[in-house]
Symmetry: C2
Subunit: 330 residues, 2 copies
């Protein structure tokens, strides 16, 4: 096991300098502190648990996801996580993250510097610097809707594959044959899973895939993917599977602009069951994600990683919520 004296020897400085660097003392230079942290990471030094009551700290890093109020996707995930963490005497910091910050300092260095025992990642894309660095981290990290092959990293989410299949099956039972997919970002792990689930389900029920009926957005926002609507209609789509409730809201809006009706002219499904889903016109048929319970369970999962349980994947059953945005094909 790497000790403080090993870091000191490597850098040719005193043990007390290393100790100051590791514990954030103010009487050494920022440059030296960075060198100490980088060397600690390089040698695989593990910060010892402090005895003080306020030690346990974890963080939630959020990118590309809104979480300010209950109508937004991240809100209940974060509330659930915090609730469970507080029960276990953990402090939780929510950290908005962006591409630029990720280039300033490596993930491991950041986490050690802030004395975080672990993190919960929300909304990251596969191309993010921190996602790349997670392949080699030793810091317990739980990802919402993302997968990395490393025993210190676990993936939690709803079973997207089966969720998407149950939407396609439901549309097919209602007589739809030309079914379009309005997906999230191409850089998103979960978009890929939903695309694969869509292909598998279409194959299972004997329907053809038309490449003109597949579209991708930037993120999962209403504005972006809905630009595909005219193309889908031109190519004969009678139903559109949307990768989020927000995309579905954008699609409905776009369809109304073209003087068409949902579901009489075209059926729409969402994903997530955000609080807004039942208030859309028409109320949205969608897949429910148990965000509050997912958030609580994400903390349990992070505790398991911290206890060296090598969990890779934890999925929730998906539940089809039938409302009024799908009609039978005449």
């Amino acid at each position: 096991m790497v000790k403080i004296k090993d870091i000191a020897a490597k850098l040719g400085v005193s043990i007390s300098t290393v100790s100051k660097g590791l514990h954030g003392a103010s009487d050494i230079s920022e440059e030296m502190r960075q060198q100490v942290l980088d060397t600690a990471v390089m040698l695989g030094y593990v910060v010892k648990e402090k005895k003080s009551q306020d030690y346990h700290k974890v963080c939630i890093m959020v990118e590309n996801m809104d979480y300010e109020n209950i109508n937004q996707f991240g809100y209940e995930l974060i509330t659930g996580f915090k609730l469970m963490a507080q029960e276990q005497q953990y402090q939780v910091d929510v950290i908005p993250m962006d591409v630029y910050t990720q280039m300033q300092q490596s993930y491991d260095t950041y986490m050690k510097q802030q004395s975080y025992s672990g993190a919960f990642f929300l909304g990251f894309e596969m191309s993010d610097a921190y996602m790349q660095q997670l392949k080699h981290t030793t810091i317990p990290t739980v990802l919402f809707d993302n997968y990395i092959s490393n025993k210190h990293v676990a993936y939690i989410g709803t079973d997207n594959h089966i969720g998407t299949k149950s939407l396609v099956n439901y549309l097919q039972e209602n007589g739809h044959k030309k079914i379009a997919l309005l997906n999230g970002s191409k850089n998103s792990y979960v978009s890929n899973l939903r695309y694969e689930g869509f292909l598998a389900a279409m194959k299972d029920v004997g329907l053809e895939i038309d490449e003109n009926l597949i579209g991708y957005g930037i993120g999962f926002l209403p504005e972006t993917a809905s630009s595909y609507i005219p193309q889908f209609i031109e190519n004969g789509a009678t139903a559109i599977v949307c990768a989020s409730d927000l995309i579905a809201a954008g699609a409905i809006n776009e369809i109304h602009k073209l003087d068409l009706r949902v579901p009489e002219d075209i059926s729409i499904t969402g994903f997530d069951d955000l609080p807004i889903a039942k208030y859309l016109a028409p109320p949205l048929t969608t897949i429910r994600q148990e965000r509050f319970t997912l958030g609580k369970t994400a903390f349990t999962l992070l505790s398991q990683l911290i206890s060296a349980v090598p969990v890779s994947t934890m999925l929730f059953h998906s539940e089809l919520v039938i409302r009024e945005s799908v009609s039978k094909v005449k």
Copy 2:
């Protein structure tokens, strides 16, 4: 919510008769007790939690799996599960199960009659009656290496897909091109996952699948699958991926009978990392399954299902353990 009086009304008997039937009293006929239980199941009656300290009982149902001593696959799964259950004041009964018993009484009726809050299934095949009944059960049930789409049922296991891929990748890095798969039972969910992982990995590294190099056993026992060895050798296999350490042990034995050497003439890999794996001649390269931790976590997962957390799937990272049963192709 269904009450005792609803069951009584349905059967046209008194409330006290129903109560006796539900609580196993001896002064009603066996036939009446069975009718009460069947009706309770049909109506979806939920047994109320008793206040007595000894109430909490769960069971482990085992079929097609040995667990008597530490060298056998089920032993640590069961020990881990029991340890965690005892910490939480749960009593655990281990119930050997067979096809015949499953035909005598339905799963839900059995569980209600015995007042079990939930069960952990080991070694069941997809064709088993209880596996079929799990599609509609409301009893929290955790399956090792099996999947059922029902929010009261969860699957726990090692990531078989990635485990099998890492074996194929390792063999390919050692120059193997003609790689055979000696799989477990065709009725096993996990055999299917390992087969799919094998296909995907072979495709990824640009190797061809030869149907003459694929074999299935009865269960995961050494005797059955190893009958494929002469066929594999005839068809030019230089390496055999075995779906369990026991199958690998059988394969090595069979190869020695043909006066060939492992790994000089043919490389062999296992799956599980049973205690015996490192004592085989040669010591076996395999995928480690953290059976003790899987068992402990299976109980945590069952508690989550009992608390209505709709977990579908929990997978552990797989770890390649390199020993001496694989050599480079000359």
